[in-house]
């Protein structure tokens, strides 16, 4: 290659030479983009539970009292927009964090945070050892395609499926490495 060409120009030129005349590719999208799930709350709760997270289905009228019971004296970070006062500000000494989420996926038992109001910063949801997440029933979608469609790529996104885990030692699953070791999900109906 000619000297003086920037790395960018040289790589792009090599790419163009390599694929000159390569055919156009049709992308077959015959997979399911809409799933029919009769009991979204039930399936989501079951799948979150499979990750050894704690799950409770709570009628909306009892949500406040249930959160109180979960907090149980813990020093909790309460992000802006969560709609509750008296949060603990220091991340290093906090015992936990409570958040809402942007969307939840039934088939995979996943909650997705877009770190908007009530969902905290990425650090706030990561450093404390206990994460209490409130999911509204109408935020639950059946599968991954429905979730991707609802999310805004310009926002930082954190997809969470159960507590932090590793299988690096003899493939034994151990919960709790660097992320919150306890994940508790309240599904508000």
């Amino acid at each position: 290659m000619a000297s003086g060409m920037s790395a960018r120009e040289e790589i792009l030129a090599k790419v163009r030479a390599a694929v000159a005349g390569a055919p156009t590719v049709e992308i077959p999208r015959g997979y399911r983009t809409r799933r029919q799930v009769d009991d979204l709350v039930g399936l989501f709760a079951e799948r979150v539970g499979d990750y050894r997270a704690i799950v409770r289905v709570v009628p909306s009228a009892e949500l406040g009292a249930t959160i109180d019971a979960c907090v149980h004296g813990r020093r909790m970070v309460v992000p802006d927009g969560f709609g509750r006062d008296g949060g603990w500000d220091d991340l290093d000494t906090a015992d936990g964090v409570m958040t809402h989420c942007a969307v939840a996926i039934a088939e995979t038992g996943t909650i997705v945070l877009d770190h908007g109001p009530g969902q905290g910063t990425r650090a706030q949801t990561l450093v404390p050892d206990y994460h209490l997440c409130v999911v509204l029933a109408d935020q639950i979608v059946p599968g991954v395609p429905e979730a991707v469609e609802r999310l805004d790529p310009s926002r930082p996104l954190t997809w969470i499926s159960g507590p932090s885990a590793t299988s690096d030692i003899e493939l034994n699953r151990v919960e709790g490495v660097h992320g919150p070791r306890t994940l508790e999900v309240l599904i508000s109906t």
Partner: protein, 470 residues
């Protein structure tokens, strides 16, 4: 510092011969590969549309490769618009220089790292160390490998070759401040790693990562992980540098709906991995640099058969089903990319100029299990056979093949050769053929040469017998 594979001596058969003598290694590998492959089969079986997802995944990646120039420019624009800085690196040396300069500009001498194949491929840790910058691996398995001054042996679980008591020894030996009472219980070992790294995460100003996917349309980078070390590195430090191979693109945001189903189920055998982070440009006040790495990829792209290896999403499903990997282990491949995918990727990325790299296309029985499980349908056996033809062959072998081709090309010549072999059958040894043919008889007997060839028998008896039956 962990060791580097670059310039490793030996070849696959020699390395594998040593590995298969190690019964502890074989036990660890067998247990691990069978556990993951069963988990994978279970969660893949849950999806009625797995075949359709796989077909879509293959086509999306082919579209990326065929239009890579356009998508790279689109990605660069999107990342830049979102406040990130994009750098281009032709090879390992250039990428290492870019990253080193970026770290130096921050004034820091320590960086934390998220598990990344690309940075291992280019030997980034060693390059940083040469400039007085310490790179700390934060994935548990990578930490075990790094502390043990060892090589990774699997894409997903790099310390798969180590058992719990070996890991305990490494921690006691190399982890500052670890309790002498540390047991070899996996939760205890995990807790030791958590405490060891906690402070470092909160203190570090610079992190280095790779990425599983980059979305051209939006400029979004995606990292899938399990432990939370990825989230720590991606969100806490002030500066984030991501080194990513140019083939890791997806055209559109929507394409994640395919790959976020294919990758976790193929890789860890879970419906979804614990944590996936996505970010677009500079986020929450962070400084973000993206280093796009070629390092041989455009050469692979130029090969019409071999380019399908660039569809790889590094799930490691092919390792877990491979009978050769299960017995030989990852180190025998002498590359950060072991197993079937490594056997086609490494010789293409590095060329087949060393004995080791030229031996890799032969590290397979061509059984095809790797192709069956590949979520992007890379026909690994097809590429292996193609590379075998391109690999350098010894003069004697080439001459023998030429003669064989000449004989087999003509039925008269074949019949003459078969009659000659029949007459000489008593003189052909059963074992230990001379010269280069001994490589074949080292592990096999010479097949018995029959008294009469099938052709001669057919001429003599078969033809008339079948005529009578009619």
């Amino acid at each position: 510092m962990s060791a580097t594979f670059i310039g490793m001596p030996g070849n696959f058969p020699k390395n594998a011969e040593k590995a298969v003598q190690d019964s502890q290694l074989r036990f660890n590998l067998r247990k691990a590969t069978h556990t993951i492959r069963d988990k994978r089969a279970e969660v893949v079986g849950e999806l009625p549309d797995w075949g359709e997802l796989r077909a879509a995944g293959k086509a999306i990646k082919d579209d990326v490769l065929h239009n890579l120039d356009r998508y790279l420019i689109q990605l660069e624009e999107a990342v830049t618009r979102a406040g990130g800085t994009v750098h281009w690196a032709r090879d390992a040396a250039e990428a290492n220089r870019i990253v080193t300069d970026l770290v130096k500009a921050t004034g820091e001498t320590e960086v934390v790292k998220v598990k990344s194949m690309a940075t291992q491929e280019i030997g980034l840790n060693e390059a940083l160390a040469a400039h007085g910058i310490a790179a700390y691996e934060t994935d548990l398995a990578e930490l075990i490998v790094q502390l043990g001054d060892d090589f990774p042996s699997h894409i997903l679980v790099p310390a798969i070759h180590r058992n719990r008591s070996e890991i305990r020894e490494i921690f006691l030996d190399k982890m500052p401040g670890v309790s002498r009472d540390l047991t070899d219980d996996p939760p205890a070992l995990t807790e030791a790693a958590r405490l060891h790294l906690r402070d470092r995460f909160l203190r570090s100003k610079v992190a280095i990562s790779g990425a599983n996917f980059m979305v051209a349309e939006t400029g979004t980078l995606v990292v899938l992980e399990s432990e939370g070390n990825g989230r720590m590195c991606l969100s806490l430090p002030e500066t984030l540098i991501s080194v990513v191979g140019i083939e890791k693109l997806l055209p559109s945001w929507r394409d994640l709906e395919v790959f976020l189903q294919l990758l976790p189920r193929s890789s860890t055998g879970e419906r979804m991995n614990p944590y996936t982070s996505m970010w677009t440009g500079a986020v929450e006040g962070q400084e973000f640099h993206l280093v796009l790495l070629d390092n041989g990829r455009t050469d692979v792209l130029a090969d019409e058969v071999g380019r399908q290896a660039l569809r790889c999403i590094r799930c490691s499903a092919c390792l877990n089903v491979c009978p050769v990997y299960e017995r030989a282990g990852g180190h025998a491949y002498g590359s950060v990319y072991p197993g079937p995918i490594g056997a086609i990727l490494t010789p293409q990325l590095r060329g087949m100029t060393t004995d080791l790299d030229a031996s890799l296309p032969f590290a397979s029985s061509l059984c095809g299990a790797c192709y069956d499980v590949c979520p992007v349908a890379i026909d690994i056996p097809e590429v292996l056979v193609d590379l075998r033809a391109k690999a350098p062959h010894a003069a004697a072998e080439r001459a023998a093949m030429k003669v064989a081709g000449w004989v087999l090309d003509d039925h008269e010549r074949l019949a003459t050769a078969q009659r000659a072999a029949t007459r000489l059958r008593r003189f052909v040894p059963k074992k230990g053929l001379p010269g280069p043919m001994s490589a074949w008889t080292d592990t096999r007997d010479v097949p018995e040469i029959p008294e009469e060839s099938f052709r001669d028998w057919w001429e003599r008896a078969g033809r008339s017998a079948s005529a009578e039956e009619r």
